[in-house]
């Protein structure tokens, strides 16, 4: 299982993501720069980390979504390669049209940086099989625009198909997100976007390892790390 981390100007969680993938898989991911148009064939998981790509100008993730590397990622995703977008990575995936909906300004209008609780709504995915359905995990969030919105018809279809993967639980919705949505996946099940930062809760030095299961699932090392 080979992973890759996308690096764009303004993304700042790439090092945390590289550390998490390295620790959990035992192998360092390769890095992919914004201008690259080809991603090696042996990459099975592409991760777009958090940050403030292109200064969040225009809309969060809007400029990044239109860079050449995103076309390459889209082609890989169409072929079934797993793609995980965290925080700004999630915003980039919705702006690129790879996930439904949009991420708007938090209803509080404030940047929120704290820990929330997440419910694993769907544990039967390539990103969540390390968890049990309905399991509540802890996870940090840090964002200004995490207020998920999608039209009601699209949402109903997503719910029916199990594409709402994570919800904020126990009244911890930090941003006014519709239906407490914290993470969604595409219809094929190989692209997941989430606002919380699982890469920041993977070892005891972080105060817990609740986020580890997402990487263990995506990297296909659940049995090895269980």
């Amino acid at each position: 299982m080979k992973s890759a981390v996308v690096q764009l100007p303004g993304l700042n969680r790439d090092r945390d993501m590289i550390a998490a993938l390295t620790k959990i898989s035992g192998k360092a991911p390769i890095t992919i720069w914004q201008t690259e148009t080809e991603i090696p064939d042996d990459v099975d998981l592409i991760v777009i980390p958090g940050g403030f790509s292109y200064g969040d100008y225009l809309r969060c993730g809007a400029i990044a979504a239109r860079m050449p590397v995103m076309q390459a990622i889209k082609e890989k995703a169409d072929k079934g390669v797993k793609v995980l977008g965290v925080c700004n990575g999630f915003q980039i995936l919705v702006e690129a049209g790879m996930l439904p909906g949009a991420l708007m300004r938090n209803t509080s209008l404030k940047f929120v940086c704290k820990e929330v609780k997440l419910e694993v709504v769907n544990a039967d995915t390539d990103f969540t099989r390390a968890y049990a359905k309905g399991q509540i995990i802890r996870c940090p969030v840090a964002h200004h625009d995490g207020n998920y919105f999608v039209d009601p018809e699209t949402l109903a279809g997503m719910e029916d198909r199990g594409e709402v993967v994570f919800r904020y639980a126990e009244g911890t919705n930090p941003n006014g997100s519709l239906s407490d949505i914290a993470g969604v996946m595409n219809r094929q099940g190989n692209v997941l976007g989430m606002m919380p930062h699982p890469e920041n809760l993977i070892e005891s030095a972080h105060g817990g390892s609740d986020g580890r299961g997402i990487f263990a699932s995506a990297l296909d090392v659940v049995a090895a790390t269980a």
């Binding site: 909906g101 949009a102 209803t107 919105f149």
Partner: protein, 75 residues
């Protein structure tokens, strides 16, 4: 081009501005919607082409049509 949030999409910034206007004593203000204005110069004099180009710019980049509407004015 003017880009605003669609009706039915909650606009937290518009709400905050509405509250601020009320606290300044402006009564009867409702449904404040915040948006963006893009002012740009185009080469050429073909208005139909300009309109088509501006529409494409809005669709491809300037507006997120999941949540936003846009209008175009040329002069």
């Amino acid at each position: 081009m003017t880009v605003t949030l669609k009706n039915g999409v909650l606009d937290p910034q518009g709400k905050a501005i509405e509250g601020a206007l009320g606290s300044l004593g402006f009564s009867g203000v409702g449904q404040v919607r915040q948006g963006k204005v893009f002012d740009l110069e185009l080469d050429g004099t073909d208005k139909a082409k300009a309109e088509a180009d501006l529409k494409a710019m809005c669709e491809k980049l300037l507006a997120n049509t999941v949540i936003e509407n846009y209008t175009i004015a040329i002069d």
